[in-house]
Amino acid sequence: MDLLNQIFIAPFVDMVAAPDFLLQVLWEGLVSGVLYALIALGFVLIYRSSRIFNFAQGIMVVFAALTLVGLHAMGIPAWISVILTLGVMFVLAVSIERIVLRPLVGQPDIILFMATIGITLFLIGLGEIIFGGENKQMISAELGIPTGDTVLEPWGGLLILQHLDITVVGVAVVLVGALLAFLNYTQMGRAIRALGDDHQAALSVGISLQTIWVLVWFIAGIIALVTGIAWGARAGVSFALEVIAYKALPVLMLGGLESITGAIIGGLMIGLSEKLFEIYWGQPILGGNTETWFAFVLALIVLLFRPQGLFGERIIERV
């Protein structure tokens, strides 16, 4: 009875009793949700255009952040380091396409998936050798990311909005908007979508597979850099950042592997719900730290009803 009370009544009583705290929780969920959505977008673009489930996305985030911090530590001004890091991500995209993906064209999905795990290991080793494994400070001040906070008082309560988080949400929204515009209104973007719809048809109208692959990996690199900066400014830059990529996986399940809309909505849903669950159910009943698995279980339950995710392509199977 007590347990039922704790599950079905107490959390809602808490929510109504302290609406400002609820808003705070929702805001934090929103911030992480936006970042999840961003990373999931990187996954979706690569998956749509090459059917590769890119497990290296997480390590790309770490690698981009480490490169940025490392370059700045060498005495290069912050914004030039950003541009140089983008250059590094481009070189990375080209070399992955050349060395790994091109020889593996046409292999089964699982082989390509394993290859991206191979890339992950390689980048972990390389990053450790070049930059070292210790936790580093993100150069947020040099990049002009504000650090203060705004305190609002809704209903006489307290709501703290970190300026960092506001910036992150703003940048992420702009980036997602720019990506959508790029995909919908430019020739390159249309080529990416065409490739996602039908490989052979796209090839037959003269779309170059290689160029598009480099392009989507480079876009994934840009996304990795932005997430790296955003996440690194909150938690420091270390290899632990890789975990954020695992968080994007349930987003993909929930939204559907091919769907751009799905990635955005799924990201926000997961960000909000895992935060709510952790605060109101996870900590009081289950001893906390439920964020590691809650998103996966939620996505699993959704998949039981819609096996292709909320917005994924309907899977039609023929014999």
Partner: protein, 358 residues
């Protein structure tokens, strides 16, 4: 010349379908068995036991379990390490509740617990396929590791949150814990691994194995010819998790001696997936070849700079190790996506004709 199949006539269907239709294969297996059962234990040092022989066997067994699920039944799983954890914790609980229990029996029984958990997490596979299923198995991975951490009953409420293997004996001979001899542990591991390998070879050749293969190749077609998909997929999950669970129990009881929840985290899952894929999906022998490569390579790489006299720090070696393993994985996937087992098959075809290819 050495590997000539000419003159080995088969007069019955049974003989043709036998495990070793070619005599040389049986001889080769005999030689390998002689080495692992007699020569290695006689010659190996403590270091070799602990860094090569025992871990290679245990990792092979775990990869074998995964291979049944992924290679034979076609269900990609990323939660192997968590199922190993279930086996290890189940074994630990059984030993602490019933200290009189024979440790080998306890290890073999602990697999049943992970089989149960495996079936539970296998139920979504009836509706979810491909990468969606792979991510779904990650749910098992993260949830179970979290459970190992939070459910204090599992580790007997001790303060460290880790499980410590006690001294256990069979008829006065210590088989696990700090007092056990490596050679005894090696024989226990070898016995269990041989037993389960023998079982799995026969399972995959029988009705069940063919059902799995049909499910893997195209599940709708398999359903149309009358295969019960639910039974096929769930048995694959059950048997795979059983083998993986036993491997997990061996992993902790016969090798590590102690375990924290994060030992069963996702890198271990990937390690086993590498072994299965580099060895060859859908091959029993591949698991052993893959384990030798993945477990043996870092050991060799660690020793290499020292023997060559290159001054290099140990952390540097470790990072280089990760890099080399990563690039080797990519290299092997490019050169031979079907794994080391396929290389052996090709080699065998060449050997049959050698030295007169025409």
């Amino acid at each position: 010349m050495l590997y000539r199949t000419a003159g080995q006539y088969k007069t019955s269907y049974e003989a043709d379908q036998a495990l070793f239709p070619v005599r040389q294969d049986a001889v080769l297996l005999g030689i390998i068995l002689l080495f692992v059962w007699v020569i290695f234990p006689l010659t190996a040092s403590e270091f070799t036991f602990q860094t090569l022989l025992i871990p290679i066997l245990i990792y092979s067994l775990a990869a074998l379990g995964l291979n049944i699920l992924t290679g034979y039944a076609g269900q990609l799983s990323l939660g192997t390490a968590a199922f190993m954890g279930v086996g290890a914790y189940a074994c630990y609980k059984m030993i602490t509740i019933m200290p009189w229990m024979n440790p080998i029996v306890a290890i073999l029984l602990s697999g049943f617990f992970s089989a149960g958990v495996g079936v539970m997490f296998g139920i979504p596979s009836l509706r979810i396929k491909g990468f969606y299923l792979a991510i779904a198995t990650l749910a098992a991975q993260f949830f179970l590791v979290w459970l190992f951490e939070k459910w204090a009953w599992l580790y007997n409420y001790n303060a460290s949150g880790a499980i410590q293997v006690p001294n256990l004996d069979i008829f006065g001979l210590y088989v696990s814990g700090p007092q056990a001899d490596s050679i005894v542990q090696y024989y226990v591991v070898l016995f269990i691994v041989s037993l389960l390998t023998w079982l799995c070879i026969n399972l995959t050749r029988g009705t069940l194995g063919r059902t799995w293969k049909a499910t893997r190749d195209m599940d709708i077609a398999a359903e149309l010819i009358g295969i019960n998909l639910m039974r096929s997929k769930l048995t694959a999950f059950a048997i795979s998790s059983y083998v993986v669970g036993v491997a997990g129990a061996l992993f902790v009881f016969m090798w590590r001696g102690a375990a924290e929840p994060n030992l069963f985290d996702i890198p271990l899952s990937f390690r086993i997936l590498f072994i299965a894929i580099i060895g060859g999906l859908g091959s029993i022998m591949g698991n052993y070849l893959g384990a030798i490569l993945i477990v043996g390579l870092p050991v060799v790489l660690n020793l290499l700079p020292e023997t060559l006299g290159i001054p290099i720090s140990s952390s540097m070696v470790e990072h280089l190790n990760i890099m080399i393993v990563g690039s080797l994985i990519v290299f092997f996937l490019i050169v031979e996506p079907h794994g080391l087992a396929q290389l052996w098959r090709l080699l065998r075809e060449k050997l049959i004709l050698w030295p007169f290819p025409y």
